[in-house]
Subunit: 466 residues, 2 copies
């Protein structure tokens, strides 16, 4: 019976009444519960129109960021069908009923219980995506062109590029190799790959990836506590990319929500977390990820960020492929989770092989007494700095908590190093400067690959640098 | 061997060098062809920097739209690696080498040969997506906030909503139920659901869906020829949504590229086509679609639209799920295509059942001599207008070329009709006003459903309106 109403009114997954209502037939229980029709998203344009008690209570006590709501989203018209009957679904808790763009409820619940059981993130705060990269661009659409942003330097290029496309930045400044109006937070061996926040200006949005791509560095609990406090002091929204969190094997936090203030019983919430199955389950082509947005993360006017994000998702997205979602759910079963840990372990072994290769090259070549006394660059990372040598000066930063090895060739350009490796070993590394000016002189060596290929590549590295 | 370079430098699918280059290891053939490294996308910021002969020749002869390139995309820095060696891949033809965000080459080729063999759209002009809805929002990001747009009224809400979110529109004007700064092209029974273009102002972008959702009307060749000429006269870019084209069973064009000027040997190109597997293969949750952008579709400064779209896709998208793409490829095999036609035929039969139901209700109730002399509202559509009746006045527009039946209840509000049907039959239809002010007084009845549900719903319709 419930299928009938679906049959005659489907295919349009976002239906948006002009100042009236949104109807999603999937959300309509027809067994006498006509009232359970819900808006796809209702976005009252002022906080005054937040109409239910839960939200009013929230507004009284809530910490608000200083980030202004995107005025374009406030323009959108949406209302309620049967508003008086659908009251329970007009609450924030009602999100879970909206429908498929946010993902299958079972998968959302499974992600919440697997990754966020101890930090209070609930099923209806999880949005399933087709990958972190897609959600990063959706965040830019969400926040619009008038926000400012900060980013680790170096970092995954999608943060900066999507910001440029959205019009948040100035022109590219060739002298410093930076876009105007972006705060580049330098992360180098000198600061243990964690930015000196005292030099970072206030921005609306802060992108932060840990373990970091490309440096492989995972921020410590102490560092992340500083970062959350910095965001809170500035009223910023912290977008935390945890796509590599399962590679963490020390006590570095695996979620930003482990940090007080990011998400807790108290109402001072500052963070969004974006993550992905790609690096855990070999899902790079399958395309499945998620974003967690606490309901109590608020714009400066008190409007919930998650509500606008839900609107973006409903308008611009069909939901992740249902096949991929089924796969994701399987990955979170006990056997599936063990399988993911095996995948992660496999790539971590690759990382070790690559690291040992670069270290052994050093030793064999220098025959130096410094061999074997490599310096830890960070106790947290377990990374080691190899001593510079005359004809092959490089320093290797071990991705203990990540599938990347970050190799520094001081004084040499990315082009020189990259092309030397490519031409002499036929192995492609990734030039560090592509991740921002802070990557100049580095190459990133990825551990994602079949063992035999990694071993063969390392054999060639050794031959080149023996 | 070729796998080796992939193994150490993957996982980051868009690598964008700051004023340098983009590297995609997948694109690197290592068998002595170092030169075949390509940029992900190079976007010279001025046409003067278009550096290869093909493009310069194109500029001399090309028709250009009057749509300005999004200045934010022009800010993006990207260059070439080994520019002198990668010349062949810096040509427009070189698109096909960029990588997976645009989709699997085999699927792109198969779509080109299946749907565009006679209209000159080539494999490298096809971008695989996770569905038309996602691409519609990517178009908005592509064109940015400074363009103007026109849309059929009524039409699929994603066009307008995504435009609002991007900041292209003014506020919602409650008196007319329209957003400011959007040209609503009224499509009603009076104009055979094709707008009077003499009343439509020039806009940068024109969204046009045929067969239309929700009206079910497919534009004729003559109408589309007028539309293309209108776009060309105005220097507009026409975004043509052909998501229901396979439902066409008369001689209405199935692609906008069948129309001279939309895409042909001559360089006057004005159209982009967006489509989807959802309505052909039951892929609504699988999420697979495509967009076709002719290489010779140019901004007013001569820059190719497809290049910027490629940049958007690379930055904000991981590609459609590889599993979905494999499914799409199977759908385009001879057996698969027959299967899709069977699916389409099944839903077309549903449409007929629904249409006959509404007609029979009319007859049974009125016992009127007009029964049986229903008026064709359009020879092209084969739609019939039922005569108005005293106590149940409705007019039915048969979706001969579409899976929708568009039912008009003159003088009654959407709320009154929708709630009457819902409360008395427990069947959800879709209120027409949600598709724009032109849908007021209509409901859309969808044929997407299991036969038994459609039959049961129609039984209830008959009971209500007997």
């Amino acid at each position: 019976m419930a299928a009938i109403q679906q049959s005659l009114s489907t295919s349009i997954s976002t239906f948006l009444g002009q100042n009236k209502l949104s109807v999603r037939s999937q959300n309509v229980s027809m067994q006498g519960k006509i009232g359970r029709i819900v808006r796809c998203v209702a976005t009252p344009s002022t906080t005054a129109s937040l109409c239910n008690t839960d939200q009013l209570e929230l507004l009284k006590i809530a910490y608000k960021t200083k980030v202004s709501r995107n005025e374009n989203l406030a323009k959108l018209q949406a209302g309620y069908l049967f508003p008086e009957r659908a009251h329970e679904l007009s609450t924030l808790k009602g999100y879970s009923g909206y429908g498929a763009e946010q993902g299958e409820n079972q998968l959302r619940a499974s992600i919440a219980s697997t990754y966020y059981a101890n930090v209070g993130i609930e099923e209806d705060e999880i949005f399933i995506s087709d990958g972190a990269k897609s959600d990063i661009s959706r965040f830019q659409v969400l926040f619009g062109s008038n926000v400012t942003m900060a980013v680790q330097d170096p970092s995954y290029p999608a943060y900066v590029d999507s910001s440029v496309i959205m019009g948040q930045t100035g022109q590219f400044q060739k002298d410093v190799e930076k876009y105007g109006n972006i705060a580049y937070m330098r992360c180098t061996p000198e600061n243990e790959f964690f930015p000196d926040l005292s030099t970072v200006p206030r921005t609306d949005i802060i992108f932060f990836c840990s373990p970091n791509n490309p440096t492989g560095s995972a921020a410590s609990r102490e560092q992340l506590t500083k970062l959350v406090q910095f965001a809170k002091d500035n009223g910023s929204i912290l977008i935390y990319d945890s796509a590599y969190a399962m590679y963490i094997c020390d006590d570095s936090p695996k979620s930003i929500f482990e940090i007080p203030g990011a998400k807790e019983a108290s109402p001072d919430h500052v963070a969004i977390e974006v993550s992905s199955f790609s690096k855990y389950a070999g899902f790079t082509g399958v395309c499945l990820g998620w974003t967690a947005i606490p309901k109590a993360l608020l714009y400066s006017d008190g409007f919930p960020v998650a509500k606008d994000f839900n609107r973006i998702v409903c308008t611009s997205f069909n939901g992740a492929s249902n096949i991929a979602q089924a796969g994701g759910l399987a990955c979170l079963s006990p056997d599936g989770f063990k399988g993911m840990m095996d995948v992660v372990g496999y790539y971590k072994e690759n990382t070790t092989i690559i690291m040992e290769t670069f270290k052994s090259c050093m030793c064999e070549e220098t025959k130096s007494p410094t061999c074997g006394t490599l310096v830890f660059n960070s106790s947290k990372m377990g990374g080691r700095i190899s001593p510079p040598k005359a004809n092959f000066q490089h320093k290797v930063y071990e991705g203990k908590n990540a599938p990347y090895v970050w190799v520094h060739f001081p004084g040499r350009s990315w082009w020189e190093v990259f092309s030397e490796i490519l031409e002499k070993t036929r192995v492609v590394t990734t030039p560090g400067s592509g991740f921002g000016p802070g990557g100049e002189g580095f190459v990133r060596v990825s551990a994602f690959g079949h063992r035999e290929n990694v071993v063969e590549a390392c054999r060639r590295f050794k031959e080149l640098y023996k």
